[in-house]
Subunit: 387 residues, 2 copies
């Protein structure tokens, strides 16, 4: 077994050591994302890694139950769970500790989550989750704000070829219910739509078949999709979903005319817990960078709890899309260099790497320690390239 495979085998599958350059890259990206969130009034909260199982896995957290590790708490003799998703924790904080704060409440977070199993797409069992939640606002302005914030933050860290795919995962159900379809038929239709299987939609769709096929084929670039959607005769219940899409798109266009927006009119998979306008963030070539959308905080089900929206970014995909920023230059400062001289170099933006013992050839020692420069001390006191 090669050395690296041997070392990796020290760790359980799906868990890994983030080594120097990658760790700095991730830390810098997370820092910048949170700075962008903070600049729009989102305040950071840090919930704990572990909570009582019954709290962490109630309401919206229930979805992650099978993905969650449990621990016995010897103090309380109760079961605790290691978080597999931070979003339910933020909703809990908003609706308990911060329930008396003025609304809309803007919160952001970054932290580690742990999952029992990796997926085929995302084999890691531990990753960094970064996101925001905007609570207590029903307006389309709130939907637009979180989309724009995600785009702004991703652009700030250098994600290229960004696009946003909007959807309203409740719309298909509302259309089907409005046309009198039963729950079983709706479930079958959803499965067919998830597969983009037009033949099955036609076979199962009954009175909704024609409309759903139109929605399916109209999905794509936002303006074309909205034009097609505007012309369709929607049942009453789906009208507010259409209006929300229209309003949100108009707000996005006004703020960022150049943004690439697509609309999937039949999307549902991955948005099972969303209750309104939702979205996926893409970078061409790198794939999905994150997703978000409307939900109800503090209670399960659409009509209870506090209106909320937000998004989560996937740091693993995201970092593959972002070029690392150039590292500061490393300068070797030979043994005996004064603290003050090294301090001045750092103040000028250098990373100083101190020699802990005298060496015959400082330039060679600098090279050995991966420094591009060395301080010619005590001779001239100049910084020289290792050559």
């Amino acid at each position: 077994m090669p050395a690296d495979a041997l070392s990796s085998a020290l760790l359980p599958a799906g868990l890994h050591d983030v080594l120097p350059s990658e760790a700095a890259h991730e830390a810098a990206a997370v820092e910048r994302l949170l700075a962008e969130f903070a600049a729009q009034g989102y305040r950071r909260v840090d919930p704990p890694l572990v909570e009582f199982e019954e709290n962490l896995l109630s309401g919206p957290g229930a979805a992650m139950s099978k993905q969650t590790f449990r621990l016995m708490d010897p103090h309380s003799q109760r079961m605790m769970a290691v978080r597999a998703d931070i979003t339910p924790q933020i909703a809990r904080i908003a609706t308990t500790r911060l329930k008396n704060e003025a609304r809309p409440l803007r919160l952001c977070y970054a932290g580690q989550v742990l999952r029992v199993k990796g997926s085929q797409l995302r084999p890691e069992r531990q990753f960094t989750q970064v996101g925001v939640e905007l609570l207590g606002a029903l307006a389309a302005e709130a939907d637009a704000e979180v989309v724009l914030l995600a785009v702004q933050a991703l652009t700030a860290i250098g994600v290229p070829h960004l696009s946003v795919d909007l959807c309203v995962p409740t719309m298909v159900s509302r259309i089907c219910a409005g046309l009198g379809l039963g729950e079983d038929d709706i479930r079958r239709l959803r499965a067919a739509l998830d597969r983009k299987d037009a033949a099955a939609v036609a076979a199962v769709g009954g009175p909704a078949a024609a409309l759903l096929e139109s929605l399916m084929s109209a999905s794509g670039p936002a303006d074309r999709a909205m034009q097609a959607l505007a012309a369709l005769p929607l049942p009453e219940g789906a009208e507010k979903d259409r209006r929300r899409l229209t309003d949100t798109l108009a707000l996005l266009r006004a703020a960022m005319p150049g943004l690439t927006v697509t609309i999937d009119l039949v999307e549902h998979r991955g948005f099972e817990y969303q209750t309104g306008l939702s979205f996926t963030l893409f970078s061409r070539g790198a794939g999905e960078l994150g997703q978000g959308g409307r939900y109800r905080a503090g209670a399960q089900g659409e009509e209870r709890g506090e209106p909320a929206t937000g998004f989560t970014l996937y740091m693993d995909t995201l970092l593959r899309a972002v070029p690392p920023s150039p590292a500061a230059g490393r300068v070797y400062v030979p043994h005996g260099t004064s603290w003050e001289s090294a301090r001045k170099l750092r103040a000028d933006g250098w990373v100083t790497v101190a020699g802990l013992a005298p060496v015959a050839d400082a330039a060679a020692e600098a090279r050995r320690l991966q420094c591009g420069h060395w301080l010619d001390w005590p001779a001239g006191g100049d910084v020289k390239p290792v050559g």
Copy 2:
């Protein structure tokens, strides 16, 4: 039960939600500490939260066994452990994944650790651990570098009244062994010294009693302690510990003449796994901020493994000693303000808080949302204080 106590009861004892202002304070402090470490060539690594129990709790990690939560890994069917200390993970990375990197190897880290029980002094069961490790260097220059780096980083984040207490936890054992005392006597002496119990030291000390009493009473301000130590007739084995103290102190004095340094010549408690020069960082009034010292990485016992030194900072105590930096001004931008206008305000350093719907009194709305200012838009487009 008051609302806050009720909310807190949602979480297991010793675990808590870090709320907005505190979370930003901690994040800013951690960021700055890591930037100071990076500026001296320490590169960040991020080991996982969870490892196989047998790896995490071997060698130096064994000390934390009782403080460590276990999890069954359904994938490998082996027991995993949630880290209670990051230091052994860094030593593992250095001696496996990074074993071919040039020495000295400088690494730093920041992350969460979880413990089964809080202590009386530190009731939290989860906290942020931040630190550095310097591997592969035996010289006193390495000892001085990590002390100076800790002082530099703590000063950078605004810790006031900083002092460093040096010790060499191996010295007492070497003195006693050199004077022919057995292991049982040495253990009894250690307990007496930990209690600073001069009478017991006299009673148990035998041939070492006089010397140990001198060491005990000489502990205190560094220069006085070193003067007293220099005059004492030490057995051969303890000579190198005395020399290391002398050399390190000289290097500290040369770099930072104003630094408050004390020396405890009989310190041992809390340094059971240290193998040479060690130190504790204090801020007057706030208490212990962190500690560090020499150890052997990659194997248990003094004479095997790679020489290493480093330190760990306790973010909880540390944050109590540091004033939070003033937050950026929050400005309310009324509904309808253009994205570009808000962007310009952010570029000027403002935090913008967007109105999601029209309001009659923008100044009042700004106050309600904890903004000190509001944008008078579309009227004059000026930023005005809420008054």
